[in-house]
């Protein structure tokens, strides 16, 4: 990171005075009044269950169920897990959406948010043209992972959906189907152009289900052919400051 703030300095183990640490603890535990929530938009009326979802996206029900079970095992506490019976999973009500609004704090600001609108039409057309599935940053690990990417990975957004688990307090889960890419050179920048290159391996082209809370914002990837992309870290000041 080029310009460090107090929070990142603390994470690096810098010697901060006790009153600064105290202030940081206070601000981090209280909820900021202006905090913005991710919003889902563009509801598709013709999708109400898993069969419709599978039909619209051209992905088999088995693959979707496998993705949901994997998500449930890795992310949910045992008492809230989805039942792993495919028949029950198929019966759960599903809402399909096409737009995700992600508020991203503007660089060097504390109250101003940039709204990133991630479009995801799956296999459907976007404005009478081909389908549009934007690239997003997804939190995939801790800050010390993936080199310069600092625990984030770009992923292709392939579906945004809500699933209502009527067996568990009628809880609604806001989820996204994504395809992860893997970072070459362990995520470190290249010596030649100082950009990170990512590649989509064949086994990663499957459907991975994540919570939409793990989606951090839009990513800008430039296609370099052969299932490879260059992560454009100069697209905005925040990305430039963080990816280096």
């Amino acid at each position: 990171m080029r310009l460090l703030n107090l929070e990142s300095l603390r994470r690096c183990g810098a010697d901060l005075s006790p009153d600064v640490v105290e202030q940081l603890n206070t601000t981090s535990t209280t909820t900021a009044p202006g905090i913005r929530r991710r919003m889902l938009k563009g509801r598709q009326d013709d999708v109400s269950n898993m069969a419709d979802f599978s039909r619209v996206f051209g992905v088999s029900i088995q693959i979707i169920c496998r993705g949901l079970i994997r998500y449930s095992r890795h992310n949910l506490p045992p008492e809230r897990r989805l039942l792993e019976d495919p028949e029950i999973l198929e019966s759960l009500p599903v809402e399909l959406l096409t737009q995700l609004e992600i508020p991203v704090l503007a660089f060097q600001e504390t109250e101003i948010y940039d709204i990133h609108r991630a479009q995801c039409t799956g296999a459907l057309n976007f404005r009478n043209h081909g389908s549009r599935n934007d690239w997003v940053w997804v939190r995939a690990g801790t800050e010390d992972m993936y080199g310069a990417l600092r625990g984030r990975l770009p992923a292709k957004l392939v579906a945004i959906f809500k699933i209502r688990d009527y067996r568990c307090e009628d809880r609604v889960r806001r989820l996204a189907g994504i395809q992860f890419v893997s970072a070459l050179n362990s995520g470190w920048i290249s010596d030649v152009h100082s950009l990170v290159t990512v590649q989509m391996k064949e086994d990663a082209r499957e459907f991975t289900v994540v919570e939409i809370g793990t989606i951090l914002g839009l990513a800008h990837l430039i296609p370099a052919g052969d299932w490879r992309w260059i992560v454009n870290s100069r697209i905005d000041l925040r990305t430039f400051n963080e990816v280096c």
Partner: protein, 246 residues
Amino acid sequence: MLHTVYLGLFKHMMDWIQGFLKKHERLEAFDEVWKALPPYPGFLVPKKAYRKVTQWQGKEMRNLGRCVLGVLAVALRQPGSAQLIPFKCALGCVRALVDFNMMAQYRSHTAETITYMEDYLDTFHKMKDIFLEFQVTKRIRAKIDEQQRELRHDRPKTRERIAPSKRRRMRDVEREEETERRMDLIFCESHFNFIKMHLLSHFCDHIRQFVNIPMYSTEFGELAHKTQIKAGWRQSNKNDALWQIV
């Protein structure tokens, strides 16, 4: 920022890059990547190939600064063995200038960020010689024309008695000599000694003195001119308009 970096150095840099890509036959690849750029909030996706755009606005150049390094990196991928070093130098130079510009847009700085800026500027100055042959001014172009005219004038004109194959060989040798002398002249005469290049060296001092650069960008003057002056002029009766605008 607007007139020094976007419409100044970025414009020069793009001319150098175009010359460089033409020399290494990568123009097509550059245009292909340029047209295939994905959308991003606040980023205007280019609809035409770079070469087809004749006029560039400041905001378009700013836009260009956000993607040019990535596009160039893709266009210059898989270099031949002889191209490795020039490609690395060209990318290094563009990277340094783009990074310097990105950092100049910060609204608050620390001693570290200013050091980063100084490093980027140093790197840019060290590596910019790779583009020297493409920094051809009108004066140099006139000199090249004059040199070629002289060369042609000095050559013997009657070649009718020479066999065609020999004549062709002679023409090739002459062409090679012309190219060599043209490149010698370009390398002797070209320089990066112009005012916008020099202005970059004052950016760090400016930050130390006045906190940040975007606050003093000429963009604001241009925007104000559009809304305050032009609108005022239109509303005036054009007779002694200054007082009416004020």
